[in-house]
């Protein structure tokens, strides 16, 4: 569309009007008016909502993609890549887990499959009773119920003491590898101070104790629901 002189005039007039309206002197006369105050508050809210809405819509796909990448890299930590040829994020099952006290009433399980056969499963779980709040973890279990790996995703434990549950701080978390409910008796699923298999940390017993107990509970979930897990 080409702009005719008439159009140009209209636009110029509109701009001039806007300019006059937005002039500080004119706005100063408007500001005390209740209608202006209401309108301007509504106007700012409207602009803010539109901006946030548009940004949310345009960024949510790529944020979801980033979160999936994060999840994939955590899953890769606990399930070795040679165990599966499927997309773990697509092959999931939801299992009720309320009575196991591992953070949520339902647990989303990621299944690792090779040639259609479940070789291992992975799921997030939580030790709700850490020393200073919940400890979020992820576990990988092979089809015989042996632990492939456990990692801590987030926690609020004491820096320098309880944070040794992170792999970046200490290799302690690797001591779970290879254990299952079959090859380690229930009373051995505890820290050494309580007569169990796993080390505690100097100055921090509660953090590893609760991590061990929550890991045991999530193995229990696997054992009880084995059929659903491996279907």
């Amino acid at each position: 569309m080409k702009l005719t002189p008439a159009h140009r005039e209209k636009i110029a007039a509109l701009l001039a009007y806007l300019n006059r309206w937005l002039a500080p002197d004119h706005l100063a006369t408007l500001r005390p008016k209740l209608a202006f105050q209401t309108g301007i508050l509504a106007g700012f809210s409207l602009i803010a909502s539109v901006l946030l809405g548009v940004t949310n819509c345009t960024t949510q796909d790529s944020i979801q993609q980033r979160l999936d990448e994060d999840l994939k890299s955590s899953l890769a930590e606990v399930v070795p890549a040679n165990l599966y040829d499927n997309d773990l994020l697509q092959d999931t099952v939801i299992i009720p887990s309320a009575k196991y006290n591992i953070g949520s009433a339902q647990t989303l399980v990621y299944k690792a499959k090779k040639a259609g056969e479940v070789t291992a499963v992975a799921f997030k779980f939580t030790a709700p009773d850490g020393y200073s709040g919940a400890i979020d973890m992820i576990i990988g279990i092979d089809r015989d119920g042996k632990i492939l790996g456990v990692r801590v995703l987030s926690h609020k434990e004491t820096p320098g003491l309880g944070d040794k549950i992170e792999l970046a701080k200490s290799p302690w978390i690797l001591s779970f590898n290879g254990f299952s409910l079959d090859n380690l008796s229930p009373e051995k699923w505890a820290v050494k101070k309580d007569g169990g298999q796993f080390d505690q940390f100097a100055g921090a017993t509660i953090t590893p104790r609760k991590s061990v107990q929550a890991t045991q509970r999530s193995l229990q979930l696997f054992q009880d629901e084995k059929d659903t897990f491996l279907k």
């Binding site: 700012f44 803010a48 901006l51 940004t55 960024t59 004491t158 820096p159 320098g160």
Partner: protein, 229 residues
């Protein structure tokens, strides 16, 4: 000097005389929450610097539109929108940085220093001055965060700028130094009470410097006069 008298005064106010933490005693919640290490302090400082500059500029730009009677809700709305936008955009396009800074971005909303600057400066001053004020207030805040983070980190674990390469990239690995070898750690300083204790020491230090400067006021003025010529 390239800065006019007014800009120089704003800069000095932001960094020293009217520093957000030292003089206004604002923003103590995010300050104490994240200064366990110098790197975290730096991250929070940078994020706040960007947002406070932007919010000051935005509010100054709209200042004629904002009636005095309902300015506070509008300030809050603008600041919250800005922070949320930064949060979304960083999460989508700078995800690695977001994983480190993300925690701090959301905390900025609770930073009353932004509202303070909007109210006492940006609402009354032109855009350029407001941007400069936001930047300098942000710099002042950043310096305190890094100083407090460094002091707490050294006394708590004997290191300085640990994990700086995660925040700034591999090329900043040289910042990570161990100040005290074979240090057994002083946990208190890493915990919130340590933050309060160290902050108190730093504020005492600032006051001592101020009173020392006031005592020799005359010679200082002569020096300033020479520089101005």
């Amino acid at each position: 000097m390239f800065l006019s008298e007014n800009y120089r005064k704003i800069a000095l106010e932001g960094i020293w005389n009217n520093n957000i933490v030292f003089s206004q005693n604002l923003a103590l919640c995010p300050l104490l929450a994240v200064t366990g290490t110098a790197t975290n302090g730096l991250g929070m400082g940078l994020a706040t610097l960007v947002v406070i500059t932007a919010s000051n500029g935005l509010i100054s730009l709209c200042r004629h539109l904002i009636p005095a009677d309902c300015r506070i809700p509008i300030f809050v709305l603008l600041i919250a929108t800005l922070v949320t936008l930064v949060d979304f955009l960083m999460n989508a396009w700078a995800h690695e940085l977001y994983k480190v800074l993300g925690l701090f971005i959301a905390l900025i909303v609770t930073n009353c220093a932004l509202l303070g600057r909007a109210e006492s400066f940006a609402y009354k001053q032109p855009v350029k001055e407001s941007l400069w004020d936001g930047f300098m207030m942000g710099m002042g805040f950043l310096l305190v965060l890094v100083a407090l983070g460094a002091a707490r980190e050294i006394s708590a674990s004997g290191t300085l700028f640990a994990n700086a390469s995660v925040l700034l990239g591999e090329s900043f690995k040289f910042l990570e130094v161990t100040i005290i070898d074979d240090y057994h750690g002083f946990l208190l300083m890493a915990l919130p009470p340590g933050g309060f204790i160290m902050l108190a020491f730093i504020i005492v230090g600032k006051r001592l410097i101020d009173s020392a400067l006031a005592n020799r006021k005359v010679p200082v003025q002569t020096v300033v006069a020479v520089v101005e010529e």
